[in-house]
């Protein structure tokens, strides 16, 4: 079902020029992610994992190769066009939460809607809905520094969800959390996936990656192997 592809990456190369040396971060990657899939990207540091994530997240563009996101070729877009794509298609969840420290939880969640011009009333309504989905209905007016790490990450997930993106892109979402809180966060992702959200997870922890349906492992800028996770190992 090609019309259901969220991510369609072909022959992706990324070359960084650092002074006089060229660094080949990605050397020809092909990835396909269908709608509703739950995929993990793994790999040691220097494998090109972050570079791939940045390109999937439309924070960076490939040197060569094509990237179609939800049917649209995004490999050659300008900064502002990419910003709009990120706003509409992608919900980011970062390791360090990346919330605005001086804004309330609710305002942080509203932010993507502010940038796409949603009217004030509708924005508030959708932000509250997203906060309730992650179980933070009673913490909406707290500032990030008044919330625990797990709560902060839930705010970030609510922010990622609020605009109904094509996919949620999570970069080491449990990296700054203790094991128990990390498990709780992963349960939220699992639940979101059950509801039909497409999730791409970047991690170096195998037990985190086991939550997904499919794992791709990167090494030296290439996909080393791809593994389908069996249902039973998830529970």
């Amino acid at each position: 079902m090609p019309e259901n592809l969220i991510i369609e990456i072909n022959e992706l190369h990324k070359v960084y020029i650092l002074g006089k040396t060229k660094v080949h971060a990605l050397r020809g990657i092909g990835v396909r992610v269908r709608s509703g899939e739950y995929m993990s990207i793994m790999g040691p540091s220097g494998s090109g994992k972050s570079t791939l994530m940045n390109i999937i997240g439309c924070l960076d563009v490939p040197t060569t190769g094509t990237y179609r996101l939800n049917g649209q070729d995004v490999s050659g877009l300008t900064d502002d066009q990419l910003a709009k794509i990120r706003n509409k298609e992608i919900g980011f969840v970062f390791q360090t939460f990346n919330l605005l420290p001086r804004a309330s939880a609710l305002h942080n969640v509203e932010l993507p809607l502010i940038y796409n011009g949603t009217s004030t009333g509708k924005r508030r309504e959708r932000a509250i809905e997203a906060m309730e989905k992650v179980g933070l209905g009673d913490r909406m007016h707290h500032k990030p520094n008044e919330l625990s790490g797990g709560e902060r990450q839930r705010v970030a997930i609510a922010r990622a969800l609020v605009n109904n993106p094509s996919m949620i892109l999570a970069d080491e979402p449990t990296g700054n959390l203790d094991t128990k809180t990390g498990e709780e966060i992963m349960e939220i992702f699992d639940h979101l996936n059950e509801q039909g959200n497409t999730i791409v997870l970047v991690t170096h922890e195998d037990f985190i990656a086991q939550h997904s349906n499919r794992i791709i492992r990167l090494k030296d800028g290439l996909i080393e192997n791809e593994e389908i996770v069996e249902e039973k190992s998830k529970e």
Binding site: L59, D60, R86, Y115, S119
Partner: protein
Amino acid sequence: MSVASQWWEYFRFSYDALTANKIRFLLTTLGIFLGVTAIIVIFTAIQSINSYVKSEFSNIGSSSLYLSKFPWVITDNYWELRNRPEVTLDDYDLLKEKVETASWISPQIEAMRTIEYRNKNLEDVFTVGSNEQYVFTDNAEPEFGRFFTEMEVYRARPVCVIGQNVREELFKGRDPLGKRIKINGHPHRIVGVLKKMGSFFGFNLDNQVIIPYTTFQGISSHHRGISIAFRTDDPLLLDNLRDEIRGEMRKIRKLPPAENDNFAINQQTMLTDFYNKLTGTSYLVVFIIAAISLIVGGIGIMNIMLVSVTERTKEIGIRKAIGATRRNIIMQFLSESVAISSLGGIIGIVAGVLIAQLLLHKIKLDASVTLTTILIGYGFSAFVGIISGLYPAVRASKLHPIDALRYE
């Protein structure tokens, strides 16, 4: 709706930034504050003095020409002007026959005289000897009573018209008409009282007496210097009138074509022109001073905005990742810099208005603070905010989201 909510976001962004660094924010506004204060004080002062001066000048008939020995504004060598012949009553007798464009002509002899009524003395009263046409050449309508007549001038009747100040000092609210006052010992009957005229640069115009020039004591000699006022009822003919007076006067003086005039034809606009020239220069100087302080203030804002952009690199990264366009980022930082400069501007406007009122109160003038002045003051501050915020804002908008997110 959506636009309004984005503006609200820009406002919140600025508000957060500014309240997070209150001291820095206030120090940064200082330059703008001083510049705007200077602009407001100066504009208000100049406007107040202007309106004062203009109202003073309006006391001189604007459509009259005054022939006299000296020009009102002396730019030539005074010692040469001093050697000019006086304008005399003989000249008046000749000119009134010849100058046809003039509707009214009045000779004017002036001196300070002491006036007596019963046992009361009033010293240094400005005494003018003229004819009945003075009413028109110098807008001297009596408030009550009448002006003296042509016949009274011709017959040298001892009559007079007095100013409001003379009436108050000598009659204290009683009816002065018909009473006799002594001007330097010579009795004159009061036939009229002039309207209140106010003052001309501190000189009390109401402290005067007008009498027929034929009764003006000490003017027996026709060689004493006077001035002659001419007025035409058609203001468009003012230039013709001037040419005609000049031509006739040159004939009377028998001046050869190569010789310069040895008399002056004065007009109210000479004074206003001179005044405008004088204030024009001070306007410029003061404007430059204010501009320099605003430039310094603007550099201060730019500097602080660059710091702010660096401090908020991570925040810029987050906003960009979430979908902020370059324009969104530029607008956010611009609204921050405009907020800084506007606050400086608003404090400056308040301080400027207060200082201007204090200063003008000292020299007994009413401060006229106009909306234009306030808008100019605010406009300047907002302009400086935009200009000095532009470069840091554009720089912020060009940050790459990945680099910005990684920044700690």
